[in-house]
Symmetry: C2
């Protein structure tokens, strides 16, 4: 713990009373790694929507603005980093952008003193689950973000490029770097279809394997060219809500740690010199630790889930609603009982960033 | 960590974006000790009111009720414990009481399966800082609480007895046990004036020492007589907001741990057999660990405060507002950077519960 720098984070995302998604997930993860977290909640719900029933209300853009103004008046707004996640409307996305830009502007005289991780939560697997006008709202924020964390579908929405293989993925990342001058990008949850070619590229083969999931990251060079790396980990057979928030929040702490190690905290957007290769980037080093931690926590969650699943089949054989609710709860990520795995990721073997080869 | 039982807690209190009071303090403390915490926020403020400026809004009783209904519908309401703190109105106090009673009622067939810690936040040092009608609202809840944590002034409000010495304090605790059939009581932050007698009782002398602060606890015997113990710790010269919430939340985890060790988790309200003396109660054992943890965290906070204080005197010599804001922030309890002290309280020597002698 002693080596993690003290980091003040403004976290703007959803809040649930029960379970772990949005700020409820992110706040605990960041605090466990020693961050001072100020959370502004974009919704206050009883639980995540995967249960099929929930209560609570959305915050208005005015409420979010008002809380931020309160922090400013009490001189509590000197943040080192900001993490923004789910927003229930385009106007709230715009409000979050206003806050981030203000913090960024104030930091111009002190390069590297503010870093914004933007998770453009819009949809997954080909389906948008926010209002359509949220997409252009996010696009207008990209030029001010330091790192974005879209999943494959969100990267398609933002870049306008359909990602069907390693090559189109690299094109999408290149376009985001260039068009928005985005310093860092990580594509999460990448699953590409098997290549139809008879001699698939090694990287395609790896990414296509059903039981694996990859993240692809890149820090732009000084001329905005991508430096790609990939990290592939075993996929688990159950869908766990909140893993995107878990990834983003752990990246907050681990990226600052890695940037500090690399002596980049006074460099704009913590960008590495052009001589650093993709897999050696602080972005890659941070992601290795994050994925090692997450894998340990999710494996324990999986074990718990399987125990409950077995019991549920015996107890509620035919009550589908009860079964769904019980299993959804059993799939809540067990971060609290696995805080040690967050603080001290086990061996990184098997979680090493590798270069991405792209067919020309 | 492995010895702390998995505990599902419903926490109803205030939320602040920045700093550590109410649920913002309590949630982190309980999660760090491995509890699954579901938090419903009674207010959402930018920061605590000690800064002299803040923004945000109160939750209505309807909003609190709605979130709880949401949990019920999603079958997420099987709580082992509940912690309730600051409520901004009497009607919200009543709403919290409704929820607690419902959870208690459902647990009647399974004694010990639900435990409610009620912190009747009303005022301090002779001053009420909530609406006057909050006092009777809290009184009407006492009969259903398992443990209450009033400070000295709140104990006076609830018992109707002016506490001026050890004897009147014991009377107040006796009355609360008897009148409301309250199983457990802890008076926090007790500072009694020096006795005027020439031969003060040893206990009075101890409590009166300026640089010390005591808590006085009791678990009722089967005929509702008090079994008193006291714990006296060095007081620090700075006022730290949120220490009451820190105490209450750490008690949640440590009391369940102590009750489990004593084999009381299936006993109504976890009450010890009459043969157990005050200082040997699980309530006392839990409080020892809690105060040891708190003392370590507050000492580190004090060190931080002193560093800032020195710097502030040099920088903002005459700007009283800036000085006040900076020092108020410096007094935010450093729980996040001292999570280890919460999980692993150092040696308990110096934090041992002792019997209370009362002059007849």
């Amino acid at each position: 713990m002693a080596d993690l720098p003290e980091t003040h984070v403004l976290a703007i995302a959803s809040h649930v009373t029960s379970g772990y998604v949005g700020n409820t997930m992110a706040t605990f993860c960041m605090q466990t790694l020693g961050c001072e977290v100020s959370s502004i909640n974009t919704v206050n719900y009883s639980n995540h929507v995967g249960y099929g029933r929930f209560s609570g209300r959305k915050s208005s853009p005015e409420e979010v603005a008002e809380l931020y103004e309160g922090l400013k008046k009490a001189k509590l707004d000197n943040f080192d980093m900001m993490l923004s996640g789910y927003c229930p409307s385009a106007t709230l996305v715009e409000q979050v952008g206003k806050i981030a830009r203000e913090l960024k502007l104030r930091a111009t005289t002190s390069p590297g003193s503010f870093f914004w991780i933007l998770d453009p939560v819009m949809g997954d697997n080909g389906r948008i689950y926010v209002a359509e006008d949220t997409v252009p709202a996010y696009k207008s924020l990209l030029q001010d973000a330091d790192l974005i964390l879209p999943n494959q579908f969100e990267a398609e929405l933002l870049s306008g490029i359909k990602i069907s293989d390693v090559s189109t993925m690299a094109q999408a990342i290149s376009k985001l770097h260039e068009e928005y001058r985005l310093p860092h990008i990580i594509l999460t949850s990448v699953r590409l279809p098997p290549t139809t070619s008879n001699t698939p590229a090694a990287s395609d083969e790896d990414l296509a394997a059903d039981a694996k999931i990859s993240i692809i990251g890149s820090t732009a060079t000084s001329d905005m060219k991508p430096r790609l790396f990939r990290l592939t980990v075993p996929a688990l057979p159950v869908y766990f809500s909140g893993t995107g928030d878990m990834f983003a929040s752990l990246m907050i702490a681990r990226l600052r740690e890695a940037a500090q190690s690399a002596g980049l905290l006074q460099t704009p957007s913590w960008r590495s010199p052009d001589s650093v290769a993709g897999p050696d980037l602080p972005l890659a080093k941070a992601a290795e630790k994050v994925l090692a931690s997450m894998h340990a926590v999710l494996e324990d969650t999986m074990k718990h889930y399987e125990t409950v699943d077995k019991r549920v089949r015996e107890q509620h054989g035919n009550d589908e609603t009860q079964k769904h609710l019980t299993l959804t709860r059993a799939a809540e990520v067990r971060v609290v009982r696995n805080a040690r795995a967050l603080r001290e990721p086990a061996e990184l073997e098997g979680f090493q960033a590798r270069p991405m080869e792209i067919d020309a």
